[in-house]
Symmetry: C2
């Protein structure tokens, strides 16, 4: 299996002509400032304080106007990146109708998040909007379409992190929460805690006025079928019957998760991830998704990351924070850091999956060592991309 890295890089800085113009602006601004300060001190020396004040104020006003113009010429970049899970996603397993449906689901989430950013909203609101849409879309393994655990229940995990602060909120193993990402957000905003689990998290939801939903809300026919298949494989294994590799690895949502990272106009990063975990998982099993540093991390000092893959590997390798630590401590670029973690460190241990990441300059990384990853990216430089396969021609 050839695992060529596909990563993406954005030019977030202006092009050559704009840059020269900006340089001239900044040069002029600096000259005005320095001149203002010099004249001011000279006038003070000559005991002409009033004159000095007038001149310096005029020059400072000019400098400020020029700076503002320069900033206006290079608007801060905005960007959002999403994923809808990694796994055995390949053209041979996909009907045209299903492929179109996945692409439409990803596009809806991507555009919903981007709209928030474009209207001047926060990166937190953007990732919440994108993840909530994927939670409501039954084809993704989160919220409504979450896979079922061994007991036949959807057991949901989610986390959100604000790169400013940083602040974080997460919930794990909840059974009756329609949009776990919204509950994670409430934990961050309305509690002194970061992580609430199981019944305690649902108590908190009720305390915050959130309505719970019955467990049947999550039981889709597709997920019930997957659970039966997984139980069959498990029984066959227990009985020593050989199972086909295809059956064992069935379903492109085996490592499903949804997530988003975003950068807003104010330069703040945010990350959000939500999942139903693994089909047929043990009750109470929590993966990397709701664990800050494992499946979800954001810090304005380094980057924002959301992961999707075999959660246990992501937890042991502290994947999301590791990407940012490589950026912060080893001064790798975002793309190098993501490559190191996904293609070198995770592959060394056999950990399968991918991550999406974003930094404050608007650099975007979407990398995976699995067959495919549902993903999308959109930014203020006009990029808008939806992809599923390794070598995905659709842009």
């Amino acid at each position: 299996m050839s695992l060529i890295t596909r990563s993406y890089r954005l030019r977030v800085y202006p092009n050559g002509a704009q840059r020269r113009l900006l340089d001239r602006w900044f040069g002029a601004t600096r000259w005005l400032w320095n001149t203002a300060l010099e004249i001011r001190s000279e006038a003070y020396r000559m005991s002409r304080p009033r004159l000095s004040e007038i001149i310096s104020v005029l020059l400072i006003v000019a400098a400020v106007l020029l700076s503002a113009a320069a900033c206006g010429a290079a608007p801060a970049p905005i960007a959002i990146v999403i994923h809808g899970g990694a796994g055995v996603i390949e053209p041979a397993k996909m009907s045209p109708a299903r492929e179109a449906s996945y692409r439409a689901g990803l596009a809806a989430a991507l555009d919903a998040g981007y709209d928030v950013l474009e209207r001047g909203g926060t990166s937190l609101d953007a990732v919440t909007a994108a993840v909530r849409l994927m939670e409501d879309d039954p084809q993704f393994n989160a919220g409504r379409g979450a896979v079922l655990n061994h007991d036949g229940d959807a057991e949901l995990d989610a986390a959100i992190m604000d790169g400013a602060g940083p602040r974080a909120g997460a919930v794990a193993a909840v059974l009756h929460v329609k949009n776990p990402i919204e509950l994670a957000r409430l934990v961050m905003d309305k509690s002194p805690h970061v992580l609430l689990v199981a019944g305690g998290a649902e108590d908190f939801a009720l305390e915050q006025g959130m309505a719970l939903v019955p467990r049947d809300y999550f039981r889709t026919a597709a997920r019930e079928h997957e659970l039966e298949e997984a139980r069959g494989v498990e029984a066959a294994r227990a009985a020593g019957t050989p199972t086909t590799r295809a059956a064992a690895a069935s379903g492109e949502n085996r490592m499903g998760t949804v997530g988003a990272v975003a950068l807003d106009r104010a330069g703040n990063l945010a990350a959000a991830t939500s999942t139903g975990g693994l089909t047929n998982k043990h009750r109470g099993r929590v993966g990397d998704t709701p664990l800050i540093g494992a499946g979800t991390y954001a810090n304005n000092e380094s980057c924002a990351v959301s992961g999707t893959g075999q959660g246990e590997y992501y937890i042991r390798q502290v994947v999301a924070y590791d990407v940012c630590a490589l950026v912060l401590y080893r001064h790798l670029t975002l793309l190098q850091a993501v490559h190191e973690v996904v293609q070198v460190k995770l592959r060394r241990t056999g950990g399968e999956g991918g991550v999406i990441a974003l930094d404050r300059a608007g650099n975007i990384a979407m990398d995976f060592n699995s067959v495919g990853m549902f993903r999308g990216a959109r930014d203020s430089h006009g990029r808008r991309q939806i992809a599923m396969y390794r070598d995905d021609a659709h842009h």
Copy 2:
């Protein structure tokens, strides 16, 4: 408040005279090897293969014997470090009897873990033994002495990590498990998962043949009194009545946790942490303790860390892994890395607490930015220390 860093450093290498001897040994070994190789190739050139083989084999045997002697002269270090929580621990708040009792509890756990190492046991068994003893000791906030949540229940979290692998297991929000560290170990050894929570974790305990205990096992009079105090403070706050700082910060176990890190003869690191969390915490609240990378982390490539403090800060700052990332990526010494995280990064955000850490060379760090920290360290260089206060004279 003067917050002087207290960190400890061990000389893990031999002293001057031993070092010179070792250097001579290694020098002689290297010379023998090189000579053996030269003679062998020379003899081959002269077409005397048999002679060359004899000579080179003799020299290689001598080299191997010398290496073995050199290794024997510098036995691999073993070490264990424990903590019993950080908080407002100061002589003024401590009666001589209570102080002696805490010191005895710490000493028992320290020596139990060290005995395992000395008998050639693994670091995993050593940290398990030390933590289990502190879980059974009602004066520490873990297991039997765990603080009570808002509902009056002890809700327990624990994690263990094996630096070889690395492998990890953890449980959170369990209500009926006498020794959560043993259940965390079972999750690591007997399940494909890393983290199990709440009822699902207890189901797993039963599946593994572990007996559960009734909730009353954890309800000690001291903890019930603390919970009533905390509820009183909460009610007073809600009513707008000013509370004294002392009452609000009452109890030296406010940030209680127990933990251990160890290095065994084979050079493997391990870390374990166990806690009842915060008095009067919301049901389902999970702190840093069971989260790999936050409160517990071990990797033979870098270090082993166990934290104790305000869990939410430790989660957001991925404290345990951050120490190791600073060692691995910024090449700080263990002491520098711990100082950077505890005295710089945690203090910057207001996060109170401490960490213990250990590396493969046997370097020991015990650092905290709180008033005090229950702690102990013992190693094969003859160090054996129990301490509680910042400036603790007892060795």
